[in-house]
Point group: C2
Chain length 261, copies 2
Amino acid sequence: MAFEKGDLILANYTAKVKDTGEAIETTLEADAKKLNIYDATRKYEPRLVAVGEGWLLSGLEDEVKGMGVAQKKEIELTPEKAFGVRDPTQTRMIPLRKFGEREHELTVGDSVDIDNRVGIVRFIGSGRAQVDFNHRLAGKSIVYDFEVLKKLESDEDKVRALVDRRLAGEGGRVSFELGETELRVSIPEELFLVDGLQIIKRGIANDVFKFVPRLAKLTFSEDFANEKVVAKKEEVKEPEKVEAAVPKPRKRKAAPAPSTS
Amino acid sequence: MAFEKGDLILANYTAKVKDTGEAIETTLEADAKKLNIYDATRKYEPRLVAVGEGWLLSGLEDEVKGMGVAQKKEIELTPEKAFGVRDPTQTRMIPLRKFGEREHELTVGDSVDIDNRVGIVRFIGSGRAQVDFNHRLAGKSIVYDFEVLKKLESDEDKVRALVDRRLAGEGGRVSFELGETELRVSIPEELFLVDGLQIIKRGIANDVFKFVPRLAKLTFSEDFANEKVVAKKEEVKEPEKVEAAVPKPRKRKAAPAPSTS
């Protein structure tokens, strides 16, 4: 029951460095706490994975393809299949004065940004620091505890998961109507000012059209309510009068202005 | 036929400093060119003014209230009714070294930013500069050539003008449907990435509810099209077959994935 390219699955996993047991990443709150990498600002929940789309390390993806739903597996990746082997030419000796204000507080293990590349200080001595520009996890074997929870079958489930992924776990607040060829997604007011919302919408549209290709159109909608009208209606409701469900048509005219003379 | 608070009017105007004839601002392209303040990046078109809402200098607004549609008037504002009188205590002598790199290129008339206040250099000498923090136009009488073109009567015209104002002249690309209590505004794709679009939408909603108070709800919508589906339809269309107008229902299933084994 292997997966195919384009399948969407939900999975939990915890990744560690094989030799040291150092925790790298987890989707499980309990593991995050146990391994001391718990971050209260993020949401721990199963990760959406599109099989064959490069959302996982390629070595990991190869293994996941062969798994089935509800299967748990320990997957070990050699450095070649994880973050690459260490390249000894990717280190540089850098004079300490280049670090400016940080010169005197520089410590081995610090992460530094040099010419827009991030490196790690490996060694400090005789006025220079050795900075290693290899990926932090290059040369390490990584062990994943990986569990496939579910394969998403319905388009409803797919849309929900794809929207949620781009909205960093806030997708549950979004409501949508899925038609035969059209999808309508309502963004709630509390998400109107999310950073990069317009880019997020474009990303959701691209994802949805890819994984639910029968859709021809996606409409995002955002509702604003006229607080004054809402407040007025509530006032009127108070005396519990029986009223017609259809609002009375009002004259198409702005409210009379207070006299200013 | 004076205007009332809340009336929306369209007006053209050109403002100059009375004594010097220096051009300050104009809504007319011809005047901008003639007066050498033409800016090719902006759109010259009549300005929307909400009477009594403080969108104009208060002295100007007082005069405009008494005007009528299609009336032209030269309006002279004393400093008190324009940008205020000059306050001699609002100048400071500032040591030149405080200007850092700009110290040696500082010139009388330069605009400078000191402690987040903008001032103008009035005088330079003996290692110091006199900086004037009064408004650039304080103490000046201003003359407006003001013409009221139109009073907006229909809610359609009001909505169109209010949307256009917040979208800096791009409002013509927006389409809308105005119902009895609901307004639906469709943002076209070319405006999806306008800077601050979410703030603009909030502003439009506030304006529209204020000047068309019968509305209870405003919905913004943004459509994304699935390019692949659109392309496919066009391919199918090419042979000029007669087809049913209603798209055939497709199976709710993702496209079959290419075999990966």
